[in-house]
């Protein structure tokens, strides 16, 4: 059986994490291709319903990339998202879904290498957890 390749939906803030992902690309950094990036205007725009929708629709994990504390383009968007994801993870755990499947990371526009590392780590962790969907998210 081929190795399980997790599917990740990555919501990336355009001011930091998405730019960091671009930098990882233009720097020709090597990292696993498992994350499907969705650029959003702010990590604070990411609604818990989107995260859950992604999990329901076949993702094995969801990554939210936001600005480092103090750097939010909209001042407090990343703080709101931090609190939301904190509570969402608690609720997922109570339902029996590993909270590690939802990951919030601070990645600045200059941190291309960090973006690559975060994706690599997340893929490794999801491989350890196994597929969320019985069929490995395919179908």
């Amino acid at each position: 059986m081929p190795e399980f390749e997790p599917r990740i939906v990555a919501f990336l803030c355009r001011w930091c994490a998405a730019a960091g992902a671009d930098l990882a690309g233009t720097s020709r950094l090597q990292y696993p291709p498992n994350a499907i990036p969705i650029r959003v205007n702010c990590s604070g725009r990411v609604e818990p319903q989107w995260v859950v929708e992604a999990l329901k629709a076949g993702a094995d994990g969801v990554l939210i990339g936001g600005c480092h504390p103090g750097d939010c383009h909209y001042v407090v968007g990343n703080y709101k998202t931090r609190r939301r994801i904190y509570l969402l993870r608690r609720m997922l755990a109570e339902m029996g879904i590993e909270p590690e499947r939802v990951r919030l990371e601070w990645i600045s526009a200059t941190e291309g290498a960090r973006f690559a590392q975060v994706v690599s780590d997340f893929v490794a962790e999801l491989k350890r957890l196994g597929p969320l969907h019985g069929n490995g998210g395919r179908g």
Binding site: K80, Y86, L87, L88, M95, I97
Partner: protein
């Protein structure tokens, strides 16, 4: 108008709620012919089975679908009815009984290991309790539902609105007899703080009678719940727990409320140093599923729960 009212997994409060119409009930009763209503008139399943298909104008089902018998009965009612509606929060969204879905194998826990739902008790096989379904379901998971009269139980104003539409033969398919806007729109309490510095349960405080309950740290689901009851609970000093179901805009009421709640939490100046205190406030939300999905767990929690169950099976 030929009317049927049936209860499935129900507390009986929905059947009683019609009395809320007061004198209006007399007019309703003068205009309906009750063909089946176990709480009110004696009729058995075989009487219902004898009715021709689509001979009942309107059927109201209250309660959650919990047993095989519940399922069979609503399937018969569906066949006999022109219009079939979910009446009350349980039929609409699963209601409080559906919170049991959180626990896998609930019958084993309650009745002991080896319990088989539907197993005959002694010799009297025909007296066997009906088989329990693996999970509690909202009505629309079992049969197509034409309309909803929501609430726990439905408030008088909405019941009246429903009968008005029914008598005028103007029940549009898919209609939910409640407001589209949030409950806050009809709540007389005033909103000031817009920040949550603590979370408390209703019994822990004596709330200020004028101020928004959410501002006072009491989890009130008004922002994500349909208007239509005149904000009866907040007026009485109790928070809205979401019985009328989510507004069309809210979507999943628990996740929408979780989002709103987390935005409001503050522990002093926002910033990295406040994170531990913010977490403490968020941790003090007792039973997030039971609080935020109080009535809607069967409907909205189901897809995630299914995933979790599958994971459990894979791991086992």
């Amino acid at each position: 108008m030929k009317l049927a009212v049936y209860w499935t997994g129900s507390c009986g409060g929905c059947d009683v709620s019609f009395l809320e119409l007061g004198m209006g009930l007399l007019e309703v009763l003068s205009r309906v012919e009750i063909v089946f209503w176990p709480a009110l008139v004696d009729a058995k399943r075989r009487d219902l089975e004898r009715l021709p298909a689509r001979s009942v104008d309107v059927t109201l089902v209250n309660g959650v679908i919990r047993t095989a018998e519940n399922k069979e009965m609503v399937e018969i009612l569906r066949e006999k009815s022109k219009f079939l509606g979910a009446y009350g929060a349980c039929a609409h969204l699963g209601g409080i009984p559906a919170l049991a879905n959180q626990v896998n194998g609930v019958t084993e826990i309650v009745f002991g290991p080896g319990f088989r739902p539907g197993a005959p008790l002694g010799e009297a096989a025909e007296d066997a309790p009906p088989e329990l379904l693996p999970e509690a379901l909202s009505l629309d998971e079992v049969v197509p539902v034409d309309f909803v009269v929501p609430g726990c139980p439905p408030p008088a104003g909405l019941i009246a609105r429903f009968f008005e539409a029914a008598f005028a033969e103007a029940i549009s398919p898919g209609r939910i007899f409640a407001g589209e806007k949030a409950l806050c729109e009809e709540c007389p309490r005033t909103r000031e703080d817009r920040r949550l510095t603590r979370i408390v349960r209703p019994h822990e405080v004596q709330p200020d009678p004028e101020k928004c309950l959410l501002d006072q740290g009491i989890i009130c689901l008004g922002p994500v719940t349909r208007a239509g009851c005149g904000a009866a609970c907040p007026k009485g000093g109790m928070p809205c727990t979401g019985c009328l179901g989510p507004t069309p805009k809210a979507g999943d009421p628990a996740l929408a409320m979780l989002s709103a709640l987390a935005s409001l939490v503050r522990a002093g100046e926002e910033g990295e140093s406040a994170f531990p205190e913010e977490n403490k406030i968020l941790d003090s939300l007792v039973d997030p599923i039971g609080t935020l999905y109080k009535y809607s767990f069967a409907k909205y929690g189901r897809p995630l729960l299914k995933l979790a169950r599958k994971r459990q099976e894979v791991r086992a």
